[in-house]
Symmetry: C2
Subunit: 332 residues, 2 copies
Amino acid sequence: MKTTAIVNSNIALVKYWGKRDEKLILPNNSNISVAYDKLNTITTVEFNLDYSKDIFILDSNEITDGPVFKKTTEHLNIIRQKAGIETRAKVVSKNNFPTAAGLASSASGFSALAFAGSKAAGLNLDQRELSILARLSGSGSASRSLIGGFAEWMKGEKADGSDSYAIQIAKPDYWPEFRIIVAIISEARKKTSSTDGMNLTVKTCPLYQGWLNTIEQDLENVRKGIAEKNFTLIGSTAEFNCLKMHATMITTQPSLIYWMPETLEIIHSVLDWRKQGLEGYFTIDAGPQVKIICLEKDVEEINNKLCSIPSVKKTIICKVGKEAILTDNHLF
Amino acid sequence: MKTTAIVNSNIALVKYWGKRDEKLILPNNSNISVAYDKLNTITTVEFNLDYSKDIFILDSNEITDGPVFKKTTEHLNIIRQKAGIETRAKVVSKNNFPTAAGLASSASGFSALAFAGSKAAGLNLDQRELSILARLSGSGSASRSLIGGFAEWMKGEKADGSDSYAIQIAKPDYWPEFRIIVAIISEARKKTSSTDGMNLTVKTCPLYQGWLNTIEQDLENVRKGIAEKNFTLIGSTAEFNCLKMHATMITTQPSLIYWMPETLEIIHSVLDWRKQGLEGYFTIDAGPQVKIICLEKDVEEINNKLCSIPSVKKTIICKVGKEAILTDNHLF
């Protein structure tokens, strides 16, 4: 049976960077994200005896080898094992935004694969089980993508990972004024994947412990900021959390410098605008793009300023995104 | 009596960022620099009863207030106290490079003031005493500038700072093939002075301890690299030391981002060139300029590549600079 899921991507306000268990994808720290309403992956999965091997078509290109194919097949194996089947699958997946450029395509992609794949295999998993399944894809932040709204992926304490999953801490419609502007400056794929990058940071970065030491306070600030709709608290905490993560990347050996000159131009601009009273905060993942969070009242002015920077190719203004859904609009 | 000193500026291979004593200017860590042969300050000092107040002319502009005037007067007070005089002074100083733009103008400037000023006041200090006097100016790295060649400013252990001074660890002519290319991308003055910046980092940066924990190893590597003329060891250690310092700056609250987009463009270029086999290493202080260390055999190719980057306004190719000298060519 064909099953199709649509899952929004997300941006972390408190970042995930480093695992305590590389096999079970258990993070060193809990982390909090907000879903984008306009960046999503749609994925159709069908298990069928007609297929002699797994077929994977991503953004209209058939992928037959490489790390993404391997991760996809391995994730299908986990689903098959859970469902007690051995049938091969066809997976067709499309992102409505550039893949592997620091816009969390693997978060929404593997979340959609877990959701559509498990349904197609006849499993009926609840949200906790789906979040754990998505986490096991290897793209840990996929565990947050199904959830929608503001989500916290709890690091958990157990060795088997059964308490490491994401929960919704505020609904998608909780804060209608909240905005995320995505500024796209490059659609080039990043040179070092997040997975490889974070493993290298944990192994080699002499500043990594300093990052971990401050996470609990950041989580508390962002939870409080959401609960009280204190935008300044969320924004300043998220921006500084991002800077701390990038400081650990920069001091990884060899150094991981995901910032491009254009990234830094936007960073300095956002800091300048804030000095002039325009309240936006940047956050950046393992790629060159910059996301700016702000409130509805400032979104037009910030977006206009962003669009006047020559290196900004386009912007996408998002509200808080909804949870994953199933649809009958199959991709094949 | 007029006295004139010429002092070369220097670039740290293991950086100084943070003090254990703000009054005595005692650093949290020992640090190592190399002198530039082409960036210098020339300073003439005269103590004369004709002057009713201290006069300070920097790069042809009379400075009558502000932090630089205050530091200069205070340094003259230290010299007067040592010499047992109360006479006011005229100080004329010129840098042959942009002031306060991350090229260590205060290092060579205050070093020249200490050298010329103490002589003009009738003091005859030895190198250790001069280094301590220069350190007390408030620009700690001034303690290294008098020395020439490769210099180590030892942090010292004593509370009175009497063991915190710079020594020469290799002579100026020890390594004739060693080159430092200074790439000037902006002559704008920096927004946050090094002194204010480092004090803020020590107080607020959660990653600062991680920086301190790795300094002894960096010092050992650079000392060994100099002793064995192992350029790869020096270069890779210095570059990573610079990245670690900037990581602590970025995660200072509020964030100190001295890198400009153009800085980052050169960083990425140097990393790319090295992947292609061209061995240069960048290092950057509290400003936007980038310095690249390399050996004579590669200097032309690296310099040509640098000059082809549109944002590079000019480059200055330096060899290892000599110790400070006195001259009769007074500035007034």
